[in-house]
């Protein structure tokens, strides 16, 4: 059974139908890249998976449990699926370490000492152990994003959703973040990434999903999708990228 099952998901904002029936199954350990033009619904799809948006039709199930929009189900879901944002969204009034500790203590009710140990461990994992007491405004964009990854990892999720996590970074900082993600992938973390980093997608991902105007247009391993685009839309999109 797949880890994440997305079945016939539809979503509209007002008159605009952003998702027109999405079907994807994600197996454990898969690294999926979701690519496509702006407005193709990529971010909306990701946000449906962790409940930030509610699908109008269709179902999503994570680890066998179906999504329901009530508080209890959403909370249980978010303990399993973490999200990293384009704008990092670190809590500016807390140090890096406390950022990573907060939801462990508040949501999982972990005692402070244990949470602190986990926070140190996670920050080490992303290469920022020495920045435990630094505040977000003292960190570079790349460092902030890595702290955000550590923060999500501290909740021990079974999957991570990455919403254009390098798009807001200066080019020279992108690699440090992608390096962390690559390591997570090699350790077997299930990842769904909306990304524009085509080279990364080719190197690290097990499957690529090309979305166009709210539908999955093409889906397959990178070797096929990138070298052998089937549809004109994908051909055009890839032409744009090179």
């Amino acid at each position: 059974m797949s880890l994440i099952e997305i079945t016939e998901v539809k979503k509209r904002f007002g008159d605009n139908e952003v998702l027109k029936g999405i079907n994807i199954d994600v197996d454990p350990g898969e690294v999926i890249a979701i690519i496509g033009k702006s407005g193709s619904g990529k971010s909306t799809l990701l946000r449906c998976i962790n409940g930030l948006e509610t699908p109008d039709e269709g179902t999503i199930s994570v680890a066998g449990a179906q999504l329901a929009p009530d508080e209890l189900h959403l909370k249980a879901l978010r303990l399993k699926v973490g999200m990293i944002f384009q704008q990092f969204n670190l809590f500016p009034h807390l140090s890096a370490g406390r950022n990573v500790m907060l939801s462990q203590m508040v949501v999982r009710k972990t005692p402070k000492a244990e949470a602190e140990m986990m926070a140190k461990k996670m920050l080490d994992r992303v290469g920022l152990g020495h920045k435990f007491d630094a505040y977000p405004d003292q960190l570079s964009g790349g460092q902030q994003q890595r702290v955000a990854i550590a923060r999500a990892l501290a909740m021990q999720p079974i999957a991570l959703l990455c919403d254009e996590i390098t798009s807001a970074l200066d080019p020279e900082l992108v690699n440090e973040v992608l390096a962390v993600v690559k390591e997570l992938a090699s350790e077997g973390m299930t990842l769904l990434m909306v990304t524009h980093e085509m080279r990364f997608a080719r190197d690290v991902c097990s499957r690529v999903v090309f979305m166009h105007l709210g539908r999955v247009h093409e889906i397959g391993p990178p070797s096929e999708v990138f070298s052998n685009p089937q549809t004109p839309e994908l051909k055009q999109f890839l032409g744009m990228q090179h």
Binding site: E71, R78, F85, F91, V106, V107, D137, A152, M155
Partner: protein
């Protein structure tokens, strides 16, 4: 009739200013407490609560403070209670202050970016937890300058309580003028004392605002 020295006048007024200060502090603290409750209603989940808070704010911000003082003074008297001026003054000022502080604080909560809500909910936090650990700490920081700024309005508002008979600085000014027939000097000194009370608060608010903006620029 005695000749009043300027010092007599100043001393008299300074003594009365104590009541201005006391009333200001009571109104500000009381108003903050009420504003805290109103804020929870105003941004809360209950529609009835939101409507009540909005209506309350509309009424207290849309009518003169002087009228509110009159209504408090004469209104409470209807219930057979003999209302002393200080009680009506305090009550009216507390309710009035609360309306303005609620709006100021609501603006501060709404200024916290949506991303903070999304990040904290993605980490599994519920509404109360989000407010307590993520949103309110940030909103509080932003709220300090305008809240300090509003305290100036509270001090100035106490002047109107003289009209319903509460003896504070303005009332003392009127009484001293009637005794000395020196309105220029007396009201001049009154103005200076109010200035001495208000200006430090105004300035602090400006300084705090500037410090806040500098801190934010690093994002």
């Amino acid at each position: 009739m005695n000749d009043f020295t300027t010092w007599d006048i100043v001393r008299n007024l300074l003594l009365a200013a104590r009541w201005t200060i006391l009333l200001s502090i009571v109104s500000f603290i009381g108003g903050s407490a009420v504003a805290g409750l109103l804020l929870l209603l105003r941004i809360g989940k209950s529609k009835a609560g939101r409507v009540f808070a909005r209506t309350y704010i509309e009424i207290f911000q849309g009518t003169p403070l002087l009228m509110q003082l009159f209504l408090a003074f004469f209104g409470l008297g209807l219930f057979g209670v003999d209302v002393p001026a200080w009680l009506a003054a305090g009550l009216a000022l507390i309710l009035w202050t609360a309306a303005f502080l609620t709006e100021i604080w609501r603006g501060c909560v709404e200024s916290v970016t949506k991303g903070q809500w999304e990040a904290s909910s993605s980490l599994g936090m519920g509404y109360l937890q989000q407010m307590r650990y993520v949103i309110l700490p940030q909103a509080l920081r932003v709220a300090v300058p305008p809240t300090v700024g509003f305290s100036v309005q509270v001090v100035k508002g106490t002047a109107l309580t003289s009209i319903i008979g509460f003896v504070e600085l303005s009332k003392a000014g009127t009484m001293v003028t009637n005794a000395t027939f020196e309105p220029f000097t007396v009201y001049g000194v009154v103005a200076l004392i109010y200035f001495a009370l208000c200006w430090p608060l105004s300035k602090s608010s400006q300084i705090l605002e500037r410090k806040l903006n500098v801190a934010h620029r690093n994002h």
